[in-house]
Symmetry: C2
Subunit: 259 residues, 2 copies
Amino acid sequence: MRVPQHIVDLRREELRSLIRRDGFLPVVEICRRLGVSEATARRDLAAVEADGHITRTYGGALADYNSSFDSVDERSGRARSAKARIARKAVAQIPRTGTIFLDAGTTIQAVARALTRRRDFAGLAVVTNSLSAATVLGGVAGLELHVLGGQFLNRQAALMGARAVSALGDWKFDAAFLAGEGMDAAGITNSHDHIAAFQQALLPHATRAYFCLDATKLGRATPHRAAAWSQVSALITDASAKALAENSIVLPAAKLLRA
Amino acid sequence: MRVPQHIVDLRREELRSLIRRDGFLPVVEICRRLGVSEATARRDLAAVEADGHITRTYGGALADYNSSFDSVDERSGRARSAKARIARKAVAQIPRTGTIFLDAGTTIQAVARALTRRRDFAGLAVVTNSLSAATVLGGVAGLELHVLGGQFLNRQAALMGARAVSALGDWKFDAAFLAGEGMDAAGITNSHDHIAAFQQALLPHATRAYFCLDATKLGRATPHRAAAWSQVSALITDASAKALAENSIVLPAAKLLRA
DNA sequence: TTTTATATGATTGACCCCAATCATATAAAT
DNA sequence: ATTTATATGATTGGGGTCAATCATATAAAA
C-alpha cells in the first residue's frame, strides 16, 4: 500500500535523527521504533545512507562521524584511496614534537587516523576544531589534544564561527593541515562562509599551512575563497601536475607534494 | 597452542585501541588486523567488553562514547534506569528558550538524550564541554549548539583546563546541569582537580545550577570539592530524602528534586 | 475517472554471525 | 621433569541478516 511522499520523507528524517542520537541502531530496533517491516527499514536505511553521514553495518547503522571506517577500503582489498595516500604524505610533514592544527573535513580526518599509527607522541600537541578528529585522536596515549570552541556546524561536525576565531587566541602552530572544497587558478575555495572565514583567520597562526585536497576538487568552483596560493605552504594532492596545469594551477615544485 | 599471558594482554590492549580509533570495527576486520582466528577475536572482544568502554554489536564492536545505547534498556523492557529518570526530571527544568549549559559525564549525557525528545528547539541554545553531549545534540534540527574549547580529557571525553575556563568568557546560562562523583554533608565532590576547578569557575556564569547525581554517589568521598550546597540551586537525584539524611545531607524541599 | 507509478510487506534462498564443543600445543605451576 | 591450566583454531548447528522478487494497495499523474 502506497504512502504519501511527505510521510516517507518525514520517517526517513526521523530515522536519520534516531541513528544520530543513538550512535548505533540495530535494524530490528529501527523496525520497532518506526513501526515498519524489515524490508521498509532496509529501504529507508539505503536512502538515508545515500544522502550521506550514515554508514550501514551488518545488523544496523552507524552515525558517520562516530566511525572513520577506513576499513571499508582496506577490507575490499582496494588500492589505498586517494585520501589515505594524501594523509600519509601529510603525516610525513608533521614534526615529531611541536604543535599542529587539524581542520575539519574527511580528508583531514584521514590525516588524523594516519597520525595514530605513529609510535611516540611525547611532545606533540594537536589542536583541532573537528569533532571527528578529536574522536579519532582522543584515545591516543601520550598525545596532548586540544579542541577549539565554537558553534557546532551540523554538516561538518566542526566548530566554527566568531567564537572559534577568537579561540585561536595566541595559539601558534608549527604546521596546519586544512581542507578545501575547490581549487582554481587563484587558490583554495570552500563552500561555506563560516569555514572560509575561519581558515583565513587561522592562517596567520600557522608557520606552515598545508592544504590537502584530492583530485576531485580540481576546477570545482565553490563560492567562498579560503586562501590564495601565496598563503599556501604546500598543496598535498593526488592530482598530477599536468591535471593541475590544465586547470591553470601552476605551483613551484616546493609547493606541490604529490601523494 | 597456548601463548604467553603478556602477549594476550598486549593484543587485547591493541584491540581496545583499534576499536577506539575506528569507532566501529567488524569482527572480520579484527581478525585481519590482529592476525587471529574468529574464535580468538570473539574471545578477545568478550574480554575487552567486560573491562568496559566497549559495546559489542552484531558483526563487530563499538567504542562506547560513540553510542549512548539507550536501546539496550528499552529493548530488554527493563524499567527506566535511575539515570534516565533523573534525566527526565532535569529536562523538565530546561526552559523552552534561553541558554543552558551541559557538563560532561554519563548522567548529563542522559539529559542530552532526553532533551532530544522535545519538539521545538527554536530559541534554545545549548553550550557544553562534553563531546558526547555534542554528538547527541549535534543532529537536532533548530537547536543552537556551542562547544567550549579546552584540553581533551580522555576518560571523560570532555574539554577541561585553563582554556576551557577562559572559554566561559561572558557566557551567561539560564541553567547549568552538572555532574558529580560524590556528595556529602558539605556538598558535591569530584574525582579530578580539572573537573572540580572547571565547575567552580562555571558556577558564577549560571543563574541556576542543577547537580544531577544518582544514589550510588551517596556518601562516596572523592578528593576534590566542586560545590557547596549553598551554591546548588537544586539536587536532582533518585536517592530518597531518608537516604540523604543518613548521609548528613539535609536540603530544603525547594532544593531537592526527586526523580 | 482512468492510468501509471511506487511504497509496502511477505517470502525465499544465500550468506554471515555466533556460541558451544573439542583436540592440541604450550605456558605456568608443582 | 611432570602435571596442570589455558590460549588457540577448526568445526558445527542454529539463528540472524540481507538482497531480490512478487503481489497489492494506494498516491500521483493523465
